[in-house]
């Protein structure tokens, strides 16, 4: 066994968070509010937000559940970039400056960091994100490890919307399907067991489909699951050009 890594006494830090607040009910405009919090070395932005909510201002509202990057609840814009609050360690940010936290862009803000996700889910549902297969096998369908590997990357999606809400094309008018929907279509288009590829390719060959992607890569950089989103979109474009997966 190699050397035991000694995790030293965990240091604490003082940081300032600027959080973008908005609440329809108080009649005020969206605004920045600042909070000073003491955080530990292993704390994430989510912990800091909790500290604010629990100790300073209970009305601060945000979504969260798993707290370790698997449920996709807490995508938000941290220092100008989309991240999951629960996967962003504060010590990895520049703590000498205030940390800016604001809702993801392009979806209507409901309250503080909570946005209306319905348009996002709607785009997801529109690509028929489910296996379409006519055979009724008695046991499992056979699929070679290579065929399985073909769509591995896009099965990882947790529907956090970090990608779609980082996409400049999506911000413009919100009509574009967005990378997350395409990722989830990709998941099935390249599944050897699926028979619905043509339908999905047709859906994405739409005015608001893959052709609106301008390869800005914001989605790929934002994806907390490390999915190569732009690559998946490129593969779907190719498939539409070919007319088959």
């Amino acid at each position: 066994m190699s050397d035991v890594k000694v995790i030293d006494e965990i240091p604490t830090y003082q940081v300032t968070l600027f959080v973008r607040r908005f609440n329809q009910e108080d009649g005020l405009e969206a605004r920045w509010e600042d909070f000073d919090v003491t955080v530990h070395g292993t704390d994430r932005v989510l912990d800091a937000l909790h500290k604010i909510k629990w100790e300073q201002d209970g009305s601060l509202t945000f979504r969260r559940s798993c707290a370790h990057g698997v449920c996709g609840s807490d995508a938000m814009r941290i220092n100008g970039r989309n991240r999951l609050a629960c996967k962003t360690l504060i010590k990895d940010l520049d703590m000498t400056k205030p940390i800016y936290v604001e809702p993801i862009k392009g979806l209507t803000v409901e309250k503080d960091l909570v946005v209306d996700m319905n348009p996002f889910y709607e785009a997801y549902r529109a690509v028929k994100p489910f296996l379409i297969a006519s055979d009724k096998p008695e046991k499992e369908r056979i699929q070679s490890p290579e065929d399985r590997e073909r769509f591995e990357d896009t099965t990882k999606c947790i529907l956090c919307a970090a990608c779609t809400s980082s996409c400049p094309v999506f911000w413009t008018d919100g009509q574009y399907f967005g990378p997350a929907a395409i990722v989830n279509a990709h998941r099935f288009i390249f599944d050897s067991r699926d028979e619905g590829a043509e339908v999905r390719l047709d859906i994405l060959n739409d005015k608001e489909g893959v052709w609106r992607c301008r390869t800005t890569f914001n989605c790929t950089e934002a994806c907390p699951r490390g999915i190569e989103v732009t690559k998946a979109i490129a593969e779907v474009k190719q498939a539409i050009l070919r007319g088959k997966p």
């Binding site: 600027f18 973008r20 969206a30 605004r31 920045w32 600042d34 814009r77 220092n79 100008g80 970039r81 205030p98 800016y100 604001e102 862009k105 980082s166 400049p168 301008r214 390869t215 800005t216 890569f217 914001n218 790929t220 950089e221 190569e228 732009t230 690559k231 490129a234 474009k237 190719q238």
Partner: protein
């Protein structure tokens, strides 16, 4: 206190900025092309007027603006290759960032080759009294 009134600007990386540049340069070239088609049309209507218009092109202000145009075309064209490679080459997405810097480097080199020549020409013309 740094209370910014609106939300922050999204801090996209090279991918996003290359697109912004591509878009701006595309629009710029488009408007230039409109004008350029019209002025070239003069060769059919009135060669004398054509020469007059072209003369202004050789003036200092437009002459330098042309530098900008060439820079725009260089970037737009080279980045156009990058975009096309991202779309059609299976490793394109992987090397997109590298390709961006190659685009910038090539554009700078080509521009550096072009600019002095052009400036000399413009100055030369001005000296000739155009």
């Amino acid at each position: 206190m740094p209370t910014k009134p609106a939300g922050t600007l999204y801090r996209g990386k090279t991918g996003m900025w290359s697109w912004v540049l591509h878009r701006i340069t595309g629009v710029a070239i488009f408007f230039f092309l409109l004008v350029h088609t019209l002025d070239t049309a003069l060769v059919r209507m009135s060669p004398a007027d054509y020469d007059k218009v072209i003369a202004t092109y050789k003036g200092a202000i437009i002459g330098f603006a042309e530098l900008g145009l060439v820079a725009a075309i260089l970037f737009h064209a080279l980045n156009g290759i990058r975009v096309t490679l991202i779309d059609f080459w299976s490793k394109g997405t992987k090397y997109q960032r590298v390709m961006f810097w190659v685009v910038i480097a090539l554009a700078v080199i080509l521009f550096a080759g072009f600019a002095p020549r052009h400036i000399m020409n413009v100055i030369h013309d001005i000296e000739l009294g155009y």
